[in-house]
């Protein structure tokens, strides 16, 4: 965890705040992989915000913050973050990186979901990657419009309204060259639409990368049993209790920060059992292998045998 100072605040569009953060101790911020997010503690909760630049030798971190529901961390930032305000944040975390072996990159964004795509676009320009962009926003609710004007690749579709975006996404997904990787970021409904369109068009799951920016609302889940490594110890995890907290009670302390499936710190290895993943960090390949989970939000749908002492 590092303390950052707000070095700049400006509008990124209607309801969107752009904050520039620098380490409070004057150090150079760590570089980050394009598409990374920064877990920021604000108003008592940790949220992940996409970083806007390409991460190469950054002099500061820029994030885009959409005003969320009252009482949330984003609303707190809108109301309280001024130049000079200090904030605590974890290191940038890469979970939505451009795939180096991709032949072409299709970037799909809705609303504030354009933020990690700006980072991808900067990197694509730097490395001469073939990239196509499809973004949608509500009428009069363009986000980071001037940066998009500047970064938009030759193949760009910008539309207004959900229906137009749905059609444009489907159309773009339908005509990509083999070897293209698609990256989608937007609200949960948008992610579900992209997933469904990609499935209809037989996209390989490993070539579709989804970045959520709303942490999903989680139900209490069903009770399940966890076995601890080779010890044979069994742990009952009741509905409404996270695996992370059940392990705490059993004296096994995992690293953690956000406790809502965005920072990735509480990752734990799973030797066997079916996992109900509910985090925003692990990719489709991790989920397909089924050998790792985030203990703060994800649960077992069968008994899980964990790689913990």
């Amino acid at each position: 965890m590092t303390t950052y100072r707000v070095a700049g605040r400006r509008s990124g569009g209607p309801g969107v705040l752009e904050l520039t953060l620098v380490p409070d101790d004057g150090a150079q911020p760590a570089p980050y992989v394009p598409g990374s997010h920064l877990p920021v503690r604000a108003g008592g909760v940790v949220n992940a915000y996409s970083l806007l630049d390409d991460g190469c030798r950054p002099s500061a971190y820029r994030i885009g913050v959409r005003r969320g529901c009252p009482g949330g961390g984003s609303a707190w930032l809108h109301d309280n973050a001024r130049t000079g305000t200090t904030l605590v944040a974890g290191p940038p975390r890469s979970a939505f990186a451009p795939v180096l072996s991709a032949r072409s990159h299709l970037l799909l964004g809705a609303g504030i979901g354009v933020t990690p795509l700006l980072s991808h676009l900067r990197a694509a320009r730097r490395w001469g990657r073939q990239v196509e962009l499809v973004v949608g926003s509500g009428a009069g609710r363009d986000v980071f419009a001037s940066e998009l004007d500047d970064l938009a690749p030759p193949r760009t579709t910008r539309v207004v309204g959900r229906a137009a975006l749905r059609a444009a996404v489907r159309e773009a997904l339908s005509r990509q060259p083999i070897g293209t990787h698609a990256y989608a970021c937007g609200p949960d409904g948008f992610a579900a639409e992209v997933r469904s369109a990609a499935a209809d068009l037989a996209w390989p799951a490993g070539r579709l990368h989804i970045e959520h920016f709303d942490a999903p609302q989680l139900d209490a889940g069903d009770p399940f049993t966890a076995e601890l490594g080779d010890t044979g110890r069994e742990l009952h995890v009741p509905a409404g209790t996270s695996l992370l907290h059940a392990l705490d009670a059993a004296g096994v302390r995992l690293d953690r920060m956000c406790e809502r499936g965005v920072c990735g710190r509480c990752e734990v290895g799973v030797r066997s059992g079916d996992i109900r993943h509910r985090d925003l960090v692990l990719g489709p390949a991790d989920r397909a292998r089924g050998d790792v989970m985030l203990a703060c939000v994800s649960r077992g749908s069968t008994t899980l045998r964990l790689e913990v002492p």
Binding site: A30, P31, P34, S94, L100, S101, W127, G269, P284, A285
Partner: protein, 321 residues
């Protein structure tokens, strides 16, 4: 060529306990005191053997160009690696080299030992990883997350031990570790791969690996073995004088590169004959403990199963007690 590492810089891998495989990873950069001296203050080695090692590195790359090879999608990661390697090396050894990276798509490099003066651009440099390998003593490898697994998608390596980095190009992390006994089924390969995938830019970690070798050749790769004497010949030499057997140490460093997230893996190799190592009494004792106890399959993997008895007799004869 034998670039022998003196005991005062030797990265002694044992701690008085029997040896088993484990994920012995720790943060890089901290100097470790040993009974013979110290090691580990830097990622890159630029010691008295450096000019000689670089000369051999360049000769092998000239003779065997495929020792540096990369899949076509790796150019960005290679450039990322080149800039990281040059910047780190120059910071660690400012009297040997300087690197100007003001513009991230251009690097100016001056090396007073090799005499190199390079002005490189991102788009105009054909094989950035090979360029970097011409300037450092370490073997360089890049792992990339492709189709759901980390894969060895670029190499520039002239000093590997008993394997072929050229043959292994494109292999998954799990397949690369296929020949190691007792590793699979332990969950260690999967755990290590997860650890590597979770590395974030700026973090540098290291581990040590060791094996035994009958000669002082840095290049012990499968690609070079046809130039070595036959196995029986080598065994006879060690039996005749076990003090000539080398302990081969790999100082391995790992980091996630900032612009691409690819994993850079470096190996610095140290080779020192047992005759020199046993002059440090604590090392002699620890070596005897490890070599006498190691199970047969691991002894075979570490390349000393067929000379274990004469080597143990030698170590015993050098005991102070």
């Amino acid at each position: 060529m034998s670039a022998e590492t003196p005991p005062h810089r030797f990265a002694w891998p044992f701690d008085g306990q029997p040896y088993r495989f484990f994920t012995n990873v720790e943060p890089a950069g901290a100097e470790v005191r040993t009974a013979g001296g110290s090691w580990g203050a830097t990622v890159f080695q630029a010691d008295e053997a450096y000019p000689e090692v670089i000369a051999e590195r360049r000769e092998i790359l000239r003779r065997r160009p495929r020792a540096a090879a990369a899949l076509p999608h790796m150019h960005a990661a290679e450039w990322d690696a080149l800039t990281w390697v040059f910047e780190r090396f120059a910071a660690e050894h400012p009297r040997v080299a300087t690197a100007d990276l003001t513009d991230p798509s251009r690097v100016r490099w001056r090396n007073t030992v090799t005499g190199s003066e390079l002005d490189l651009t991102q788009d105009g440099t054909a094989h950035p990883l090979a360029v970097a390998a011409h300037e450092v003593a370490e073997d360089l490898f890049l792992l990339d997350l492709r189709d759901g697994a980390l894969r060895l998608d670029a190499v520039a390596a002239t000093f590997v031990a008993s394997w072929s980095s050229t043959f292994s190009l494109g292999m998954s992390f799990s397949d690369l570790h296929g020949p190691i006994p007792r590793l699979h089924g332990s969950g260690m390969v999967a755990r290590t791969e997860r650890f590597l995938r979770a590395l974030q830019p700026g973090e540098v970690v290291r581990r040590l690996n060791w094996s035994m070798q009958p000669t002082g050749d840095l290049d012990a790769s499968v690609d070079a073995r046809h130039t070595w004497p036959g196995e029986d010949d080598l065994r006879r030499r060690v039996v005749a004088d076990p003090g000539t057997l080398r302990l081969r140490i790999e100082i391995q460093h790992l980091t996630a590169l900032p612009a691409t997230g690819a994993i850079l893996f470096t190996i610095a190799t140290q080779l020192t004959p047992l005759a020199r190592l046993v002059t440090v009494p604590e090392w002699r004792d620890q070596l005897e403990l490890v070599l006498s106890e190691l199970p047969e399959d691991m002894a075979a993997y570490k390349s000393f199963a067929d000379v274990r008895e004469p080597v143990l007799a030698y170590l015993s004869s050098r005991s102070a007690s």
